[in-house]
């Protein structure tokens, strides 16, 4: 595959003296779905947050669609980009959070139309129509006028997916999208994500849901201690994981 959407090269990240990312390199091609697995503290969430610059990186570089994220070249050195330019880059990158982070003072529909109208300047009517289409797609056409407080966790997360999709991103990031959900509703969120993956969306998913990885992922990446220790197809991980840490980890979650 050629069309690289996201490229991370030797990404380092420190929180004070603690180095949480110790040189992550990863390419994700157009239409690919990559699952990142690993124990908590392995740095997977930090890494995905670096991709849309919610976390600054200390070394290395990340590009999305060929654009350097969060930084620009200045006399051969990388300096942090302006706020406006970072905001613009982020419109290309959708993000779904573990805790949904829907806007509680806005209806489901308003949550979805807010950014297209305010950031992209999409006419209200057009944005509303698109939001309706997206909410229908995630199975929530009847919840348009409902506030997040009245929605279940699974419904909130599906609204959050629709909200991110409304920006027509080139890349979707999912940060443990089902970890905060009751087991009986994780399915409805994973179904939406699976459909999205099959429709050709480029996705990076931090998850422990190996069932989802098997059905939807093109590639699985195992992180441990701030580095990628193993990479391969879902089948590889189910049938013949090589690394001891991977075997140990999988035996616990499967």
């Amino acid at each position: 595959m050629s069309d690289v959407v996201m490229e991370a090269v030797d990404v380092h990240k420190r929180f004070g003296r603690l180095e949480v990312l110790k040189g992550i390199s990863l390419d994700v091609s157009k239409g690919e779905t990559v699952c990142i697995i690993g124990a908590s503290g392995s740095g997977k969430t930090t890494f995905i947050r670096c991709i849309n610059h919610l976390e600054k990186i200390d070394d290395g570089r990340i590009t999305v669609n060929g654009h350097l994220i969060g930084y620009r070249q200045h006399h051969g050195k990388l300096v942090e980009d302006s706020e406006a330019s970072i905001a613009k880059q982020r419109t290309q990158i959708g993000m779904v959070f573990q805790r949904f982070n829907l806007f509680p003072h806005k209806t489901a529909l308003e949550n979805v139309t807010e950014a297209p109208t305010r950031v992209l300047g999409t006419p209200r009517g057009e944005a509303k129509q698109e939001a309706l289409r997206l909410l229908t797609r995630v199975g929530l056409a009847d919840k348009c006028e409902t506030y997040p407080g009245k929605l279940s966790g699974g419904q909130q997360q599906r609204v959050a997916i629709a909200r991110a999709l409304a920006m027509k991103p080139a890349l979707m990031l999912f940060d443990e999208p089902t970890s905060a959900l009751d087991p009986e509703v994780t399915g409805e969120v994973l179904d939406v994500m699976e459909e999205l993956a099959h429709d050709g969306m480029t996705m990076i998913v931090v998850t422990h849901e190996m069932g989802f990885a098997r059905k939807a992922a093109d590639r699985v990446v195992m992180m441990d201690g701030g580095v990628i220790i193993e990479e391969g197809t879902p089948e590889h991980f189910f049938e013949a994981p090589e690394h001891d840490r991977t075997k140990q980890f999988l035996s616990k979650i499967l």
Partner: protein, 262 residues
Amino acid sequence: MLGAVDWHVIGQRIFHPDHVFFRAMYTTVYIAVIAQVMGVVLGLLAALMRTSKILPLRWLSGFYVLIFRGTPLLVQIFFVYYGANLMLGFTLIPNTLNLGLFTLDGAILAGILALGVNEGAYMREIIRAGIDSIDRGQMEAAKSLGMRYTLAMRRIILPQAARVIVPPLGNEFNNMLKTTSLVFTIGVYEMFSDAEIHYSQTFQPVEYFLAVAFWYLVLTGVWSLIQASIERRLSASERGDELSFRERLVAAWAPAGAFVRR
């Protein structure tokens, strides 16, 4: 002892106040309202400056609170009225200010400025607490959708913070209505001056100060009712009533509107 009190005067001041008194009450109310609005605006600016990336702005915000919360309001009022023009070398506080439609007395202007700037220091803390009460994930979600800081603040953070800010803001305004009495010291004719002048002419302190206390109670009492109604309607949404924030705000201000609409 009670026999020494002239109840007739108290009754007169309470039930038949003259138009000079109403004029004074009007002055009290508009000083309080303008100073409070100024306080909210300054407080918001200072609260935002406090989290700025630019270090001198953070310093300025801290210095502002340090000075205006740390020194007596009365000193600030005197300083603005008597000292500001001298210190600045130009006329910040004119004797009278011509605003086209009406003229504003210089003392009133100084009073409003001092009260408003002082209030801003307290409002900064209240607004900061409101902003801090909003989950960090809200700003992250807004940013991940491509919103810039100011847009995210305006559309996402502040509307939610308002619910936390409004109750203490109501208390501040209650305080403000009473604190305006301090501007009598620089010669503004407001409710307390009215009482003070009558007292100095008659030497009947109990009668005039009791009556003016009653009228302050009326002002704060009316405000308490408005405030309770605003808070009741704002908290209605927490019970899950499906009203948008704008609808809630409109509903919350409806009783105030009822006074105006007659």
